[in-house]
């Protein structure tokens, strides 16, 4: 069936836009990082210089090369998102499968816990954690995953519960298959669409979250991030530097979010009817 999924995806407009955008962004930013000749922390240039052949996007108020800064910021933001999404996904799969397979008290506790977490806005928790504990970006990414796993866990659990009663899973159990065998060979492959959708959704959320927190100034001010770039650039919006300082990170950010959103929409369109069918 795997080749069929790709056949369906490739004719989906959202997917085509999303994937082209994502590929372009990856190419631009890997190549861009290669071309940026300056250390983003090097503050030895004349502040607020306009774009030139040496500084493609000019220099900011602290005397740093904006292009190099942007390259680093995008990388930091996206990596934060990927890390947090991956961790949330792993947690979600683990919690969801445990709840489905063990059931009983364990399952109940896990599900109630996930409901409690889902009822609290993640932004609030992140602001509190970031402002009071001032952790590193990596720790913060994991913190975010701690509050974003429940949706995945719930989806995984309900699908796993349905799958458990499927004939081929019952057959494997009747043949003497152990839980680990059944989970690895039967459940995990069947749940594949869920991971994909879950991962993309979490990625979008984490990227947004990172940008927002940085914009609010809740991150280490020295860390390069799209959010903090926008924040600093906004202070000078009355000068004409906003053209080369404010617009590039905003556009980059929008493109990243757009590409992820398109992918998410396409995946849901393709997988959802199949999930219902199951």
């Amino acid at each position: 069936m795997k080749h069929n999924i790709f056949n369906v995806l490739i004719i989906n407009r959202w997917f085509v836009f999303g994937i082209i955008l994502a590929v372009l962004l990856v190419i631009v930013f890997t190549a861009g990082a290669w071309f940026s000749r300056y250390d983003p922390y090097n503050a030895s240039f004349s502040p607020l210089s306009p774009p030139s052949a040496r500084h493609w996007l000019g220099v900011n108020d602290g005397g740093m090369d904006i292009f190099s800064e942007l390259m680093y910021a995008v990388r930091n933001t996206v990596l934060f998102g990927v890390l947090s999404a991956a961790a949330a996904l792993a947690l979600g799969i683990f919690a969801g499968l445990t709840a489905a397979w063990k059931g009983g008290l364990t399952g109940n506790i896990l599900m109630r816990l996930s409901e409690v977490i889902m009822s609290v806005p993640p932004v609030m928790i992140m602001i509190i954690v970031a402002s009071f504990m001032r952790p590193s970006a990596v720790t913060l990414a994991f913190t975010l995953s701690l509050v974003s796993w429940p949706t995945t866990a719930k989806a995984i659990r309900s699908q796993a519960l349905a799958l458990r009663e499927r004939m081929h899973v019952r057959a494997a159990r009747d043949m003497g298959g152990t839980s680990s065998y059944i989970i690895v060979r039967h459940l995990l492959p069947e749940l594949f669409p869920l991971y994909l959708i879950g991962f993309i959704a979490k990625l979008r959320m984490a990227v947004f979250m990172e940008a927002s927190l940085a914009f609010l100034g809740l991150f280490d001010p020295a860390r390069k991030s799209i959010g903090s770039m926008i924040r600093y650039a906004l202070q000078y919006y009355y000068l004409d530097v906003w053209l080369n300082w404010l617009i590039p990170p905003v556009v980059c950010f929008s493109l990243i979010i757009m590409s992820i959103t398109f992918l998410a929409i396409s995946l849901e369109e393709v997988f959802d009817p199949r999930l219902k069918e199951i």
Binding site: M1, A171, M175
Partner: protein
């Protein structure tokens, strides 16, 4: 009258000698019909010829044959000639060849009268004419030559010839093979008449129907050895030896509802010769001509002869020499005492919450038997079958498989039990993962039991597959007639049709070489032509591998075609269980009758529920719908009753007495 004791006969055939009879002991008594059954080549006719003293001169014999206490084996030809026709007569099998082609038949039949009794020709001819007329040969036909008569007429002529001197002992070798059904009925009445006159009759036939209807005792011969001695009425019903079972399953009677089975493998002859061993001793060897499974074609002297074709053979069968032993009214030559009980369920109860799925069900299953559980949806048939398969645990009750408790077995050795039982599920497409390839699907039970399955899977990707595993998978696929090309092995289930997927599931169930197959509505998702193929396949597998099958279906038409026994379930209770032919032709429980009549499309006595009286939980589950209900049906569950002398059980206070066939006759008569 005639006693045969430890009689062996060896035909000399060039360098070989063919062992036709091996220490056969039985007797023929007055007014008693003994029937010899067995495949061709099992020594039936040799036995008859031996009694008549007609064996070839170079035959080596041993043991004794006594007529009223006088030894016959040492008699010379003249004394024997005096006995033949007068005391002992035989109707030969190869009819036409026995008669003299240039003599009118009436003259030939009269010959013994003239030769033995010295009666004048005219008188003899008169007696003969009477006798022939008794055999319903018209006066016109009597004066014909043998070639002018039909096979059936010749057979009757031979009968007249054999009976002309009223012999005390009559041997009939395949008397009905050339006869049509009407003549066969005549033959049966004739045999009964002779029996009442006190003639001792040895009937040799492969017509089991004739045997059941006429004989008193049946003797099963296999390769010259008596395998089972049994009361003839037990034929087709209660059998112990696997050989007799296979034989009876192959025979088409009017009652038989199941498709014909057969005996697996081929018959072979036994050759004996003497080998000189290295230490100078000699040891006689028995050779099996077609037994390619043995080194040099030598079979050990010891052991059961039927073993290569037996479906329940164990190692012990080849080790000891086996004697006929008494088992009830039967005598059986089998180490395992005949067909063994494979599975026993005793008072199984299972409830899902408040709903009782199975209530006090007890079933036992003999090896190599097909038991079908029929009943409406929700009657608990699947639950019962799955409890038998070890897939569901019962709330209370005992279940044993191969004399071991299933619950303990599963607890201690899950894998070993899983290899004994294969399960086939209702919906083939659902019961396989659509992500697996054909190979992975069939190999799954092996992968599950192989701890290094991950390693095996990665090996497969690198192209070096586990040879043993691959062999097993290919064998299983061959068994279900699926292709084994690498291209097919890499296909996914959605590329196959339903029938192929179901056969794939059967292959998966077979890959561990299980003893028991539990098939839960395996054909209900299939269209009739595919269903027919799958059922044929299962039946063939049953014959070839001796599988024991529990078949769950709601379709009594399917059940009729495949089962040895049928078990009817209603609301978690077994209401009737018995041999398939009995259940179908003579149902005793009103519910069974309803099922069968509805399957025939004629609801003879379907009435809307008599009243809305509530049935107590202890009452008969059918009480509300039953037209034969009596008062106590509502309050208590009927006890188990059985049809006399049969393994046909039912649970009903007021069972159906008239069988549908008679009933139809009667209603037709009234019209």
């Amino acid at each position: 009258m005639v006693e045969i004791e430890n009689y062996s006969a060896v035909y000399q055939d060039g360098n070989h000698s063919l062992l036709a009879l091996d220490r056969v002991t039985f007797s023929l008594n007055e007014g008693y019909i003994t029937v010899l059954i067995g495949e061709s080549g099992s020594g039936k006719t040799t036995m008859a010829n031996a009694i008549m003293g007609l064996l070839p001169k170079n035959t080596v014999t041993e043991g004794s044959i006594r007529l009223n206490g006088d030894e016959l084996t040492h008699l010379d030809d003249d004394s024997y000639r005096k006995l033949r026709w007068r005391t002992m007569a035989m109707v030969f099998q190869n009819s036409a060849a026995v008669l003299n082609p240039v003599q009118r038949i009436v003259n030939q039949v009269a010959e013994p009268l003239i030769y033995h009794l010295g009666i004048k020709k005219e008188e003899a001819l008169q007696i003969t004419e009477k006798k022939l007329a008794h055999m319903s040969i018209s006066s016109d036909e009597m004066f014909r030559y043998p070639h002018e008569l039909s096979g059936g007429q010749i057979q009757r002529t031979l009968f007249a010839m054999a009976l002309i001197l009223n012999p005390r002992v009559l041997i009939l070798d395949e008397p009905t093979s050339a006869m049509d059904a009407a003549l066969k009925a005549f033959m049966i009445s004739l045999l009964k008449e002779l029996k009442s006159k006190g003639t001792a009759i040895l009937l040799i036939t492969h017509d089991l129907d004739l045997a059941v209807k006429t004989a008193d005792e049946a003797i099963m011969l296999y390769l010259g050895q008596i395998m089972e001695v049994l009361p003839a009425r037990d034929l087709m019903q209660t059998l112990f030896h696997p050989c007799t079972v296979a034989m009876c399953r192959s025979f088409p009677t009017m009652d038989a509802v199941r498709d014909l089975g057969g005996m697996r493998g081929d018959a072979f002859y036994r050759y004996t010769h003497v080998h000189r061993l290295s230490d100078g001793k000699t040891e006689p060897h028995v050779h099996i001509a077609a037994g390619a499974d043995r080194e040099g074609g030598h079979a050990p002297i010891l052991g059961c002869l039927f073993r290569p074709r037996c479906t329940q053979a164990v190692e012990e069968c080849g080790r000891t020499s086996i004697q006929l032993t008494q088992a009830g009214t039967h005598k059986v030559r089998c180490v395992r005492g005949g067909i063994v009980d494979l599975l026993q369920l005793k008072q199984i109860k299972k409830a899902y919450g408040r709903i009782t799925a199975v209530d006090n069900a007890s079933v036992s299953l003999r090896a190599g038997e097909i038991l079908t559980i029929v009943g409406e949806t929700g009657s608990g048939k699947t639950t019962l079958a799955m409890i038998a398969a070890g897939a569901i645990e019962q709330d209370s009750g005992m279940r044993t498989f191969k004399d071991r408790t299933i619950d303990e077995w599963i607890k201690n050795e899950r894998f070993s039990f899983a290899s004994e039982v294969g399960i086939i599920y209702q919906n083939p497409a659902e019961s396989v993962s659509h992500r697996f390839t054909v190979y992975d699907i069939v190999a799954e039970p092996l992968h599950i039991q192989n701890k290094s399955s991950g390693a095996a899977a990665s090996k497969k990707r690198s192209g070096t597959q586990n040879e043993e595993e691959r062999k097993k998978v290919l064998n299983a696929l061959t068994d279900v007639h699926l292709p084994v090309e690498p291209d097919f092995l890499m296909r996914h289930p959605h590329e196959l049709n339903m029938g192929a997927i179901q056969r794939l599931c059967i292959a998966r169930a077979l890959v561990h070489d299980p003893v028991l197959i539990v098939a839960d509505e395996p054909t209900s998702a299939l269209d009739p032509s595919v269903q027919a193929k799958v059922i044929k396949l299962l039946l063939n597998l049953q014959i070839e591998k001796g599988l024991t099958i529990i078949f769950v279906t709601h379709d009594i038409g399917v059940a009729r075609k495949i089962s040895d026994r049928i078990c009817v379930m209603l609301a978690g209770r077994i209401v009737e269980i018995g041999p398939a032919s009995k259940i179908i032709n003579e149902p005793r429980h009103p519910y069974t009758e309803l099922l069968i009549d509805s399957a025939r499309g004629e609801l003879i006595h379907f009435e809307s529920p008599k009243s809305e009286q509530s049935v107590s939980p202890d009452g008969c589950p059918f009480a509300n719908r039953c037209s034969r209900r009596v008062g106590k049906c509502l309050e208590m569950n009927p006890p188990c009753s059985n049809v006399q002398g049969q393994s046909h059980l039912f649970w009903c206070f007021n069972p159906v007495v008239l069988f549908s066939y008679d009933k139809k006759m009667r209603t037709d008569g009234e019209k």
